[in-house]
Amino acid sequence: MKVPISWLSEFIELKESPEEVAEILTMGGVEVEAIENPYENLGNLIAVKILEIYEPEGLKDLALCKVTDGKEIYTVLTTGKTQVKPNLIVGLAKPESFTFSGEKVEVKAIKKFKSYGMFLSPYEAGLGEEKEKLLLLPEYSPLGESIYKILGISETVLDLAITPNRGDLLSILGVAREIHTLTSWKLNPPNFENAIKTGKKFPGKVEILDKDGCFRYAGRFFGNIKVKESPFYIQKRLWLCGLRPINNIVDITNYVLLEFGQPLHAFDWEKIEDKTIFIRRAYPGEKLFMLDGVERTFNEEDLVIADAKKPMVLAGIMGGEDSGVSENTKNIFLESAWFNQKRIRRSSQRHRITTESSYRFERNIDPEGVVLGLLRASELISKIAEPEIISEIVDIYPKHFIPPQISLFNQKLTKYLGFSIPSEEVENILKKLGQVRRSGYGFQFIPFSYRQDLKIPEDLVEEVARIYGYNKIPSSFPKSTLYCQSPSKILIFEKKLKDIFKSLGFSEVITYSFIDPKTLEKLNLEKNDPRLNFIELANPLSSNQSIMRTTLVPDLIETACFNFFREVNSLKIFEIGKIFLPTEDLLAKEPLHLGILLMGNANRETWYENLRKFDIYDLKGYLSSLFEILKVNVDFKPYSSETFLKSGVSFDLYLDGEKIGFAGEMKNLVLKDFDLKTCVFIAEINLQPLFEKMETLEREFIVKKPPKYPSTFRDVTCIIKKEIKIKEILDFVKTLSIPYLEAVDCIKIYEGSPIPEGEKSITIRFWYRAEDRTLKDKEVNEIQDSVAKKIFERFSAKPR
């Protein structure tokens, strides 16, 4: 809501600067978003001197002027051929600036002549009505300077953000009243003593058929008016408030809307069939071609203003193209009404139209302002549009508005605020908002009709606190019951995971919960994959954020891409976030998932280390560390069935026979679809089963003690077939029940010359220890020999 200080000053005596007024409003709960000077907002409107004048070839009606702003020389084409003279100082709107009529100035070319801007008339400069004259500036004007600075003209406009509860502040008068409430500066309310209250008999008929939709409907007939351009002061005020002038009648309705907050609508009387006006529900399917050029179809929930045959206006929102006031209009009917805010809101939402009018009706207007608005408009119309006939006012008001009576007890106020404000002060504050009567231990209060937001005692608590000053109320700590509950275990679990990954050198990422369905296509999932059963947004910002993610993979890969294209060649990231799966219900299943991604180099090339790329064993290692810390047994089952992973370099992860995730290398083809030309290793785990497992796990905490006797190790090195997996050998070792065996591990694998093709050399290390003595070499050797023999036999191994 834009509030010009000059207009505001008509209703209140401002005793402080606009900046101070802005501060008072802000601290009173009316946020001032900006203090503007609309003249400055127009852009570069500057003084230039005319140097030379030519008649452009083939353009007889125009003059081509060479002008200077003191620095550069431009050419400007003008129609004011007779007015331009060398050495005149005139106003120029430079390209990219705006003029009063809202036109954006651009470099124009007519034939071969270019015009770098436009000479201003007083009108286009927003200074007066003359449109044909050139704006002449004083001789001494500094060239290049803003014309407004030279003329000493400025306007200050406060741009207010009005909260939805305060519809009463959507007018100049309303803001003046609010400033009065906050400061007690003198208010000059509008005077209606000389208003035109009576007139000729109303020549038509008005009937409210939908009493739920329309609470009050008033109007007036004006005959033989002159529809023309508004006087400049009206146009200027509309412009200051961000509205465009149209014609005097429409401008007056807008003027009153801005001034009093009362929306008005003017009908062309001749277009009203049978001179009958019905306020009724629309018939289902009823159509209206509206002022914005769109034809809309109504339903029974819509409220329309109709004549005997057809709807003319979607009530409180927008008029029809046909019934509006045009240049040819002679007689008008001016409407001023109070519509049901809920009905207006629903219609405006359904048809996606917001107008100055609907915006105010939705936020509720002052029921007692309906006729006042009409009176104010009558005054302006009679002055400006020269009507020959003015009718009486029709005012249909079936059920008078009765403001609520609210009780505010001192005790309630004190208990709510934790602070006691003296009764006299409370009373003085309430008096500014309505009628107050002291009663017993508090007040009986009836708000003014424009304060439709005041309904319950708590509303009054806020008003009293706000006007008294929030910052004058002291701060304290609550006196309350101490109670303790165990913190949420899943949150602790999540935090633990994050700390583990941080300590493993990972960076945490947070990505959007909505993704592009195309990214799922790129994963090449099977048709029945549950991840393709996703939840769609009804109104996404764009198609690449149009479905709720069912896997973390696309987000992680896109994060990798973003980094890859910005010179990151080593990435080690994780994310813990929800995925979203549809259910039978409205709500979704939102399991927490963990995603891990490794991309590019595992290290940096340094003086002590060669460059190494991440491989699957990095990923497996990190996951193993995670599971070790969590003390859960997760099986790495080669090879994963995920379509987007290289089968040979991937695992499915199983917990108690249930698949909880996967880990592996992304297929090159998939990465290519994401435009990524590097290796990516990825893992995703559903944390829900992991968390549940940890909750149910009977934790056997084994504290290891330092050994008393030394251990000893023996290695077996042999050549076996390449396809034999290490796990097979280790599993086989387990079956042998080897005495004193403490640990066994593969410590070396070698393929290549001189090992024959299709075979590999491996070294397995066996650790032995007895708890009660130092083992003798001899007995270990005996055990080891027998083990080695069995391994050689079982795997047809050859000695190295």
């Binding site: 509860n165 709510y416 602070f419 701060s475 609550p478 960076s507 959007y512 009804a538």
Partner: protein, 337 residues
């Protein structure tokens, strides 16, 4: 005679001892005086022809000299060995050390953690809930019926089935109050969504909701709690102010500003020349909200507050583009180590 020799020897021994520089000197010295044919050994041997008393006296003297010398040599040897180890030419210690990659939590996670810690100290319990919500929890129960223009304050993402992405963490007030009996004191951090995207707005962002309900918690207490939060988050000297505002689910409502951390209240680009930065919205729980969860407003009153995590992070770290949080560039993330 011999005693003169001994005196001479003593003098010679200690003079020579002082000159020992390295291990070879030391070894020569040992051989020269203490070796089998060394001077002290020889002198000792030559004592055998003397009288018993002289033998004892001089023998004792020589033995003492020898013992002393051996003791001192041990110390000397250790000294020399210690110095030996410093003799190597130093390494090029200007080379970087073997680095261990340091991980980092997302700045938003860090802020959420920090805020959770602050409110945990005040006895608030952390709860979480669904991100896909119904109109009822997100709006209606919070005193925002479908016709209410306050719905415009939060541009909502709807789902095709009629559910929506929660536009704030306030539904957690309703969910918690329906589940539990008062008194209660909770905070609810989490993701929220609004159809808005520019340098200041992200379609997904994070909020933290707070709710306290008890018999005697009031507006002054709300100010106290929020002031404590601001000082813990932005520093002891942080100035705060409270402005009246409007939220359908609180009455009275307020917004809290802190003095601009950049210009210290003078007015700058960051605070839009205001000198103050808006930090959060709060208020006393609206009776309609208590009615929706069947809390008796005659007994219970409380306050609620909600704040944007990104906003706090942006102010704290001087970040001017909210999108950076979700682009996750490694350099950006690693600056929060």
């Amino acid at each position: 005679m011999i005693s003169e020799e001994i005196e001479k020897l003593k003098k010679e021994v200690w003079e020579t001892f002082e000159k020992i520089q390295d291990l070879s000197h030391l070894e020569n010295f040992r051989v020269k005086y203490l070796g089998k044919k060394g001077k002290i050994t020889s002198l000792l041997k030559s004592l055998k022809d003397l009288s018993l008393e002289e033998k004892r006296r001089l023998g004792k003297e020589l033995n003492e000299l020898r013992d002393q010398l051996e003791e001192k040599l041990k110390i000397k040897e250790r000294e020399i060995l210690f110095k030996e180890e410093d003799k190597d030419l130093g390494l090029d210690l200007t080379l970087p050390g073997r680095a261990f990659p340091v991980g980092t939590l997302h700045p938003l996670s860090q802020i959420i953690d920090e805020l959770c810690n602050i409110f945990s100290r005040l006895g608030f319990e952390i709860v979480t809930g669904p991100e896909i919500e119904t109109e009822y929890y997100n709006f209606t129960a919070l005193n925002i019926p479908d016709w209410h223009p306050a719905r415009d304050m939060q541009a909502t993402f709807y789902l095709k089935n009629g559910a929506l992405l929660r536009t704030h963490t306030s539904p957690m007030q309703i969910r918690t109050m329906l589940e539990r009996k008062p008194p209660l004191r909770i905070i609810a951090p989490g993701k929220v969504y609004r159809c808005d995207a520019d340098v200041r707005h992200s379609p997904m962002f994070h909020q933290l909701e707070g709710l306290m309900v008890d018999k005697d918690v009031n507006f002054a207490d709300l100010k106290g709690i929020l002031t404590y939060f601001a000082k813990e988050t932005f520093g002891e000297k942080t100035k705060v102010r409270f402005r009246p505002s409007y939220f359908p689910f609180t009455e009275p409502s307020l917004e809290m500003d802190i003095e601009c951390v950049i210009c210290k209240g003078k007015g700058c680009r960051v605070c839009g020349e205001a000198g103050w930065l808006e930090i959060l919205g709060a208020g006393m729980v609206h009776p309609e909200v208590f009615n929706a969860v069947n809390y008796d407003t005659e007994i219970w009153q409380g306050f609620a507050f909600g704040l944007g995590i990104e906003r706090i992070a942006m102010i704290k770290y001087g970040i001017d583009d909210i999108r950076m949080f979700f682009e996750n560039h490694l350099l950006f993330l690693q600056s929060f180590k």
